[in-house]
């Protein structure tokens, strides 16, 4: 059964990434993950122009406890739970479609910078959920960056993509961040700057890695008919969703190293494009979960934006910046805007469809495709007019 246009986004919100980054670096801590979540939720309510009592569904991010967020925000919903960004969107659509909720708030907060969350080493975040994050530690192999470095090295061998071609991701996204007032890293860079940046886990450079910062994001998804009545802005319908997971061989990195997640992306792409009734040629912008830059070439090939093995040339010649053929991560993404674990990408997709993006606005933006290929699953959402 299709979830196409069953629900629409009526409000988006976020915290003050730039201000909080400066405050945390100066040793100040005004909020923890719950405070950031609350700030973002209030911002989203104001953007939607609705009252808190219109909310009857609550989905929170993996960094905060569901019940405590509901307690703090005074929400007793008819449907609730804890999900990552992409599954929050899908679950909101499912809850609405099934009649279990009509207006769902999806809320995320993370104090990862001020709380010094570790993404490598024996205490690596997520190790309890993903065995691959911790299993290879006896060999010094730790950090999510290392998983993608290993995957990208083999991808280089198979496709011939160069480090300079991969650098197009960091350069394009920094250009986008320079046009985004709320982005953290706004100084433009060149391919030469990229190549000169130090390796963290070779072949990945520092500029291939996401930022680590504090913040929160919220979005409010309502039943499509209701959305037109209660929201103050034109709703942004969700045209399609897709998902496919590769669990087999996950800890030994088999789906990454032998297949680059391609089978999952292809199945996910077929589902989301079918449901939306459109394909890659119809997309005006793409948002990619970019904990590391190499997610972008993997996604361009996996979701049919270029031929298999052609992502390096595509990024260099056709271009993935606002000046190129296919703008990717139009606010700067995890590399340069803010690292909100996919949540801020949904906000940017909605704003692009609304036409609110000012200097970084994609002209006549009708459809934005979000996709994520992390933690063993491929997930897609298409937002549109």
């Amino acid at each position: 059964m299709s979830l196409s246009k069953v629900a629409a986004v009526i409000g988006v919100g976020q915290t003050d990434y730039v201000g909080d980054y400066a405050r945390v670096r100066a040793g100040q801590k005004l909020h923890d993950s719950y405070g950031y979540a609350a700030l973002a939720f209030n911002d989203a309510l104001a953007d939607a122009g609705i009252a808190r009592d219109a909310i009857d569904g609550l989905i929170v991010g993996p960094t905060v406890a569901y019940e405590r967020v509901g307690e703090l925000l005074g929400i007793n919903p008819t449907w609730g739970g804890q999900r990552d960004a992409m599954l929050a969107v899908i679950e909101a659509c499912m809850a609405i479609h099934s009649g279990l909720a009509t207006t769902v708030a999806c809320i995320y907060g993370n104090d990862q910078r001020s709380a010094a969350v570790q993404y490598g080493g024996p205490q690596a975040m997520g190790g309890d959920l993903f065995l691959s994050y911790v299993y290879h530690s006896p060999w010094g192999y730790t950090s999510q960056g290392a998983l993608y470095a290993m995957m990208f090295r083999r991808f280089q061998e198979m496709t011939g993509i160069t480090e300079a071609q991969l650098g197009e991701v960091a350069v394009a996204q920094r250009l986008h961040a320079s046009l985004t007032p709320h982005a953290l890293m706004r100084q433009t860079i060149t391919i030469e700057d990229y190549l000169a940046s130090r390796y963290i886990c070779e072949p990945l450079h520092l500029l291939d890695y996401c930022l680590i910062n504090d913040g929160g994001v919220a979005f409010i998804i309502s039943e499509a008919g209701l959305a037109k009545k209660i929201g103050k802005k034109t709703p942004v319908p969700i045209h399609g969703v897709g998902r496919y997971d590769l669990n087999r061989g996950a800890t030994s990195l088999e789906p990454r190293l032998l297949d680059f997640y391609r089978p999952a992306q292809e199945k996910c792409a077929a589902q989301v494009y079918d449901m939306a009734g459109i394909g890659p040629k119809d997309m005006d912008a793409v948002q990619v979960y970019d904990s590391f830059s190499c997610h972008v070439p993997f996604a361009l090939e996996g979701y049919g934006y270029c031929r298999s093995g052609d992502a390096g040339r595509f990024m260099q010649e056709d271009g993935i910046s606002l000046n190129g053929k296919l703008p990717v991560n139009t606010a700067g993404g995890h590399l340069s805007e803010t690292y909100m674990q996919g949540w801020a990408h949904q906000v940017e997709a909605v704003r692009q469809v609304r036409g609110e993006c000012g200097a970084r606005q994609v002209p006549d933006c009708r459809f934005v495709h979000y996709n994520s290929d992390v933690a063993g699953k491929a997930v897609s959402v298409i937002y549109g007019k």
């Binding site: 080493g121 024996p122 299993y135 290392a146 090295r153 083999r154 061998e157 886990c201 990195l253 088999e254």
Partner: protein, 131 residues
């Protein structure tokens, strides 16, 4: 900064015991013959719960490799490498290449398992280029 630490479920314990004895063993499924890594209670191919610990042949091929330039663990001083090796028995393991480095590309090189002591007296299986 903490040192590296093996995940030690009850299924991992026999494997590390075999490594300490200088002969890396993995479970081979009694139902379909598939080898399993990491060790576990059930075969993902045929769901048989029955398996037998077998010595590995020690042969494998490099699938990919990285070099760490950042320090994450007290017992690993960068720069150091990690390699993904597909064992002759099928499973992919992550380990380190020691000894001479390959001239030209690393990927596709034949390697063989060798054993090194760590600072705490345990044994870590690594690989070196095959003759």
């Amino acid at each position: 900064m903490a040192r590296s630490r093996a995940v030690m479920s009850i299924y991992d314990q026999p494997m590390w015991k075999s490594i300490d004895a200088g002969k890396w063993q993995l479970q081979q499924c009694d139902g379909c013959g598939a080898y399993r890594y990491p060790p576990g209670p059930v075969c993902d191919k045929c769901l048989s719960m029955d398996s037998t610990w077998r010595d590995l042949s020690g042969r494998g091929k490099v699938l990919s490799w990285v070099v760490f330039h950042r320090k994450y663990l007290s017992d690993y001083e960068p720069p150091y490498n990690a390699v993904a090796v597909q064992l002759a028995e099928g499973p992919i393991v992550v380990t380190n290449l020691i000894g001479p480095e390959p001239e030209g590309g690393w990927i596709g090189r034949d390697v063989e398992i060798c054993y090194e002591p760590d600072a705490e007296g345990h044994t870590i299986p690594r690989v070196k280029l095959a003759n």
